[in-house]
């Protein structure tokens, strides 16, 4: 049963991931990416990371993808026009994939094939959101606070970047008049 769930989720994840890179229309790509994130959240649930599954849905499928769709529609991007099929680029990418899987095969062969690392670990306590919060606010308190600073810096950066040139001069004119 667990295996069946895993295979369904795995095929869904890979299929929707492929849809992201194969769709020519950016809006379709973005919607496929939302589906990918939902499948990933389901896989997090199957790994008993319930809180992360919720964060994945809320932050990625909610906030980040809305931002992406908003920018796509704001910029009014058309679907990429058909160009002569990029054989050179595609073959290079295929080479990349083959090399990648060669490396991956080696890594998996060097992993122990049957040992405790391959099966589910038995935790003495339930790994709930409460436990996650305790660890986050004790062991990882400093990184957590630094993350808050990072978000502040990112917010200020976005405001600076999205300000139009000449806004300042217009504002100073208004204040002087």
């Amino acid at each position: 049963m667990e295996a069946l769930v895993f295979w369904i989720l795995a095929f869904g994840l890979v299929g929707s991931g492929l849809a992201v890179i194969l769709n020519r229309n950016p809006v379709a790509s973005a919607l496929s990416l939302v589906i990918t994130f939902v499948f990933l959240a389901a896989i997090f649930v199957s790994l008993e990371a319930f809180f992360l599954a919720m964060v994945q849905i809320i932050v990625y499928a909610g906030a980040v993808m809305v931002l992406f769709l908003f920018i796509i529609m704001l910029l009014d991007i058309k679907a990429e026009e058909r160009r002569p099929f990029p054989w050179v680029k595609l073959s290079l990418t295929g080479l990349l994939g083959v090399a990648f899987f060669f490396i991956f095969d080696r890594v998996l062969k060097n992993l122990p094939q049957s040992s405790s690392i391959l099966t589910w670990g038995e935790s003495p306590e339930k790994l709930t959101a409460k436990k996650l919060g305790e660890v986050l606010f004790s062991n990882y308190l400093l990184p957590f606070e630094v993350t808050a600073l990072l978000l502040l810096v990112a917010t200020i950066g976005v405001v600076m970047l999205s300000r139009r040139e000449g806004d300042r001069s217009k504002r100073s004119e208004e204040s002087s008049s």
Binding site: V14, L47, K89, T147
Partner: protein
């Protein structure tokens, strides 16, 4: 041990690797800078999947891997905000999102 009915850590690692590879191929192949950004998100999520799987399959599971994923999600959200602001600024300047038209810094 049947590879289809018994799900081990290796299955999750292969899945994570596949997702990363899809993102990498997208970054190399696609010409739209926004789609390239989406593929970067895909690669970050592949790393998240590997971290959660490693965490859950360790002999004594902890939440340390989940905390790491939590931080990655936060940094990714900040990165998307800044990156999309850059794309909007670039679009205002050049009226394009095709990376083939943005080659000033190419040697």
């Amino acid at each position: 041990m049947n590879a289809f009915t018994e799900i081990t850590l290796n299955h999750y690692l292969v899945l994570s690797g596949l997702l990363f590879l899809i993102g990498l191929i997208g970054v190399v192949m696609r010409r739209n800078i926004i789609v390239i950004y989406m593929c970067l998100e895909l690669m970050l999520n592949a790393a998240n999947l590997a971290l959660v799987a490693f965490d859950r399959f360790s002999v004594v599971p902890t939440v340390n891997g989940q905390v790491m994923v939590f931080f990655i999600i936060t940094v990714a959200a900040a990165e998307v905000a800044v990156g999309l602001a850059l794309i909007v600024a670039l679009y205002r300047l050049r009226q394009t999102t095709n990376v083939n038209d943005l080659m000033e810094m190419k040697f």
